[in-house]
Symmetry: C2
Subunit: 181 residues, 2 copies
Amino acid sequence: MSLFKLIEHRQSVRKYASDPVEETKLMQCLEAARLAPSASNSQPWTFIVVNEASLLQQVAKATKGPLGTFNNFVVQAPVLVILVLEKPKMLTEMGGRLKKKEYPLIDIGIAAEHFCLQAAELEMGTCMLGWFDENEIKKILSIPDDRTIGLIITLGYPAPDYPLRKKSRKPIESIVRWNRY
Amino acid sequence: MSLFKLIEHRQSVRKYASDPVEETKLMQCLEAARLAPSASNSQPWTFIVVNEASLLQQVAKATKGPLGTFNNFVVQAPVLVILVLEKPKMLTEMGGRLKKKEYPLIDIGIAAEHFCLQAAELEMGTCMLGWFDENEIKKILSIPDDRTIGLIITLGYPAPDYPLRKKSRKPIESIVRWNRY
C-alpha cells in the first residue's frame, strides 16, 4: 500500500471487535514508533502497554468525558498504549526553553503517528486520546509524579461493521500559502 | 515500499542536490500533511511554502545557530516549508487548557511527519528544524505577531553522495513497559 493510501486508510476507530491483538503485530507498531525522529534524537518517551483486563478497565474509565459524554468505547480496545514524556537531552531542553517551544510534544505526535500508521497497515484500528484524568492514570499505572502523559492510543481490530469514513479536511488553498503568510 | 521500509528510509537530509522540486511532488507532500489527524479535527496549521530565492536565503540565514555552528545547509534546499500554528477550535483549546496539554504541537508533529514520510517515498529528503529566529522569520514572511511558528521543514533531493545512515535509537526494552511504569 502506498503511503498515501495508508494515510487515507488510517482513521480514528471507536468500535472494536473482541479479537485480541497478536504480540508480533503489537511489537511491530512499537518498533515503528521507536524509529521515529525526535528533536536532537532525544527520544523523550516511554510507552506503557496496558493489556491486563482489570488495569485496562480502570484506565478506560479514567478517559471518559464528564457524565460519560465521550470515550465510552475505550474499554472495548484489547490494548491501550500510554505515551509518557521523558526529559529530553539538556541541549534540546535549553534550545526549547530559549525558543519557548515544547519539542517533546512535537516528538510525541510523530512517534504516535508512526504507531497508528503501522497499525493501520496491519489492518488494526487506533484512536489517539487527548482527554483523560492524568492523575488518576498515573496512580493506576504507578507513573512517577514528575512525568507527564502526552497521549493515550487505543489499539484493536475494528468491529466488522465499522465503516471507512471519508476524511473531512480544510481545502488545500486555505492551509497553504506561497512565500508570504 | 512498506511503511516500515519507508520509516527506515526517511532520515534528516542535510546536503541537497541542485535539482528543483517538481510542483506535483511538492503538492503530494502537502496533501499528505493536509490529511493528517488532529485533536478534534481542528487542523491548527498553515503551511507557508518558500521557494523564491531571495526570501529563501533570508529565512535560511535566520535558522543558523550561533556563530554558524549549525543549519548552514539550509540554504541549499530548494524549498522550505514553515508550519505556522493556528488557533484550535474552542472546545479543543478548553480541553487543552484544562489538562495543560498543548495539542496543537502534537498535531503539528503529526502533520510534519506525514509531509516528511511522503517526501521520502518520492525519493526526496527533508529535515525538520526546531531552531530558528522566530521573530526574524515572522518579519520576512509577514506572519502576524500573534501566530507561532511550530517547525520548519527543508525539502529537496539529497546530494548524490549522501549516505543512508543506520538509525541510532534506544533499545525497545528501555522504552516499553508492560502494564505499569
